[in-house]
């Protein structure tokens, strides 16, 4: 018991890593399930990166729609990334974060477009931003933001 108390920071670290791993992977799995379900739901709403040109009188409304999502790292992912800093190579633990943020942002943008009654989104653009620089340093929160924006087109009913 004394041994545990003497090495309290070590114990804390292990607890945080375990917590980070279990909570982090649970949240990630849950998020992916939700992403896949909603992607299926919104599949019929087409999103293209092309500019799009439409016949005259075909377009009733064209509005800017945006969607953004912020996903945070967990303690375990941070540990993996710090270790990666030493050896180099792909930071695999962060790949899923960026992927989730990107897909979530597109989904939110599509939801916004659907609320406008849009039939299609053209000119999709994606951007990412890091929130909390030097995320590997102590007392810094590291998260990634993805922003998706495009032009939602509502067609005239023919």
């Amino acid at each position: 018991m004394d041994l545990l108390l003497d090495n309290l920071d070590l114990v804390m670290f292990l607890v945080l890593v375990c917590l980070g791993y279990t909570a982090g992977s649970w949240a990630e799995k849950k998020h992916y399930r939700s992403i896949e379900a909603r992607e299926k739901e919104l599949l019929s709403l087409a999103v293209v990166t092309a500019e799009g040109s439409f016949p005259k009188n075909n377009v009733a409304q064209a509005v800017l729609v945006t969607g953004s999502a912020v996903v945070s790292i967990d303690y375990f992912k941070r540990l993996l990334a710090i270790l990666r800093n030493i050896f180099g190579g792909r930071v695999k633990s962060y790949e899923s974060l960026v992927d989730r943020a990107r897909r979530e942002a597109i989904l939110r943008m599509k939801t916004a477009a659907q609320e406008q009654g849009a039939g299609m989104i053209v000119n999709l653009r994606l951007e990412t931003a890091a929130i909390g620089r030097n995320a590997n340093q102590k007392k810094q929160i590291g998260s990634v933001e993805a922003i998706a924006y495009g032009t939602a087109i509502r067609f005239n009913r023919v």
Binding site: F13, K40, K77, L80, L83, F87, K92, S93, V98
Partner: protein, 281 residues
């Protein structure tokens, strides 16, 4: 062209490696690198400790001495000189101008400071019952000087601290973590040094008195109050019982005689009969 929406299966943007597998490989790499580093560091500091000029050691000694402002004690100096005469054949000890100081602290401890200064805490001095026991303590510190243990320990500690700071940054919790992780290795090394110093002291004691009576007395007193041996895994010193066993093994193997120890001389006993300024424990 007709647009047919289709959901893609699979995900090319995320690696499939299981995070725990990745953690395993990364940790294995770190452990291997760290092991190599500690091995190389131990090798170089041992080499450097052998070669380091005395002037550097004296300089470090002056810096550390500020923390331990002890007083000269003629009675102890006389015993140190006597022991040094016995140890005159030890070439490794000849480079040092030895001094012995008494520091008024209740801790039961003695230190070998770089540059040849031995500091004995009054808490230890008050406990000692025989001349032989005192000589064992002084001999133990002389053993550290013979091996230049203080320089080796310093070099290792410094090397690991610099390396972790360089890799993980100064404020990173990981630096502390690495320091904790190498503690068992450091402790193991340090305990090895203590045992070597014990052996040195025992041989010196045998040469000085012709027997080894009283060599283990100090540790015997502390063995029962020192708690379980397992708690000493991370300590810088071995458990007293382990030190007793170690010494007894050597006494048996070298056929050293065990005679009754000499009681403590009048000049030091006088010190003990003084009422202590603060209650000792």
């Amino acid at each position: 062209m007709k647009f047919t929406p289709k959901q893609l299966s699979g995900n090319v943007n995320v690696s499939r490696t299981h995070p725990l597998v990745e953690l395993f490989w990364l940790l294995a790499g770190i452990v291997m690198l760290g092991g190599l580093f500690i091995f190389a560091l131990g090798f170089t500091t041992d080499w450097a400790a052998r070669k380091a000029p005395l002037s550097i050691e004296k300089w470090i000694g002056r810096q550390t001495l500020k923390q331990f402002p002890g007083e000269d004690n003629p009675a102890l100096s006389q015993r140190l000189q006597a022991l040094l005469t016995t140890a005159s054949s030890e070439e490794r000890l000849q480079r040092y101008p030895f001094r012995i100081l008494v520091l008024d602290r209740d801790d039961v401890n003695a230190l070998a400071l770089p540059g040849g200064t031995i500091v004995i805490f009054s808490g230890l001095l008050d406990e000692i019952t025989s001349e032989n026991e005192l000589m064992m303590v002084i001999g133990h510190e002389l053993g550290h000087f013979a091996q230049r243990d203080h320089l080796r320990g310093l070099g290792r500690g410094l090397g690991i601290a610099i390396a972790t700071t360089m890799i993980f940054g100064q404020d990173s919790g990981f630096s502390d973590l690495v320091a904790k992780a190498v503690l068992p290795i450091q402790a193991g090394y340090s305990q090895q040094q203590e045992r070597a110093a014990d052996r040195f002291a025992l041989d010196l004691l045998a040469r000085h008195y012709g027997h080894c009576g009283g060599a283990t007395d100090f540790f015997v007193r502390h063995a029962t109050t020192s708690g379980p041996q397992i708690a000493y895994l991370l300590a810088s010193h071995p458990h007293p019982q382990a030190r007793i066993d170690d010494l007894n093994r050597i006494i048996a193997s070298k056929h050293y005689a065990l005679l009754a120890p000499q009681p403590l001389g009048e000049d030091l006993r006088h010190r003990q009969s003084d009422p202590p300024a603060s209650p000792t424990h």
